[in-house]
Symmetry: C2
Subunit: 210 residues, 2 copies
Amino acid sequence: MLDRIKIVKPAEIEKNSMATIEKELNGRTWPEPQFSVIKRCIHTSADFDYADNLCFSEDVCKKAQEAIKRGASIVTDTNMAAAGINKKRLAQYGGKVYCFMADEDVAKEAKEKGCTRAAICMERGAALPGEVIFAIGNAPTALIRLYELMEEGKISPALIVGAPVGFVNVVESKELIMEADVPYIVPKGRKGGSNIAATICNALLYTMPE
Amino acid sequence: MLDRIKIVKPAEIEKNSMATIEKELNGRTWPEPQFSVIKRCIHTSADFDYADNLCFSEDVCKKAQEAIKRGASIVTDTNMAAAGINKKRLAQYGGKVYCFMADEDVAKEAKEKGCTRAAICMERGAALPGEVIFAIGNAPTALIRLYELMEEGKISPALIVGAPVGFVNVVESKELIMEADVPYIVPKGRKGGSNIAATICNALLYTMPE
């Protein structure tokens, strides 16, 4: 039974995966580090739709990596994305990962205001000192609140990774962010998720000098 | 700009999403709780491939839910899946979620043996007392090690959620599990991920009486 399994050394697994992805992209390439972002999204989902749906604002990767070098933190709307982002790597530049979703006072405030916890979490993120990257992998309401906070002049994110997933206001909230004056990386359409939000952050980190 | 956003109460978001998924499945249905597992995988990925790729062994949901009622724990190969599984809900029945991936001695042992950390983590899981559900969202090597441990008569999992994602041994490792004598839920092919592994566990939990 086990003879169908290819023997691959642990260190080779990712390399071989990336080679397969490049082969199946049939020669399509993008400038780095954009190409790495696209390949990592495919790697984490086995879904080649990400070759077509990922949208990048002008010079976004360079701008985001410069912010990370200056110590930018990352605020996310899901504990799964927070678990997936390489926190050690981010800490090398001084940044931390924050997710306020499980905080009790967030749940309380959301209930009082009749909005989602994710929206309240964005307000918590807006109050952080220093530069902030918002990595959204679940809630369209997080993107909508970020848009409102930008309109009110209360935040100026270093980057918005706009990757909520699903069927209610997901497409629309991503369009809002792509029309705003903010550096963004967005998989347009319904797809995304906490795994995609985390992998986009990691792709940026892994293409920076250590 | 914001007028394109539909006003939906937080509690209604998931309900509306599920209604959209059911509509786009064009009347296709499955017996419960299998249908809930399929819908939740689509909900978490916006990828309707899960309507076709999910494979269930005979009576697997019933068997798994009975094991959970008896206090089964869940062992996973990724911290992201561990973050995503509803631990409070599992704890109501006495179970815990374990992920050994970040343990220092796991990294050390994997290096010494020239295998992946995930394979070592499965051995840690095999040593737990009581019934165990293995929820694999990343590493084919975890599934391969589980297969070997079953062949050696060392484990008898209550359920294997076999949802590694990717391009190296993913398809083959899933086939191994589906040919073994074990209750399984497997998205056949390349797709899966820690979000899928977590959502399958949650779908089982959410269709049980509290």
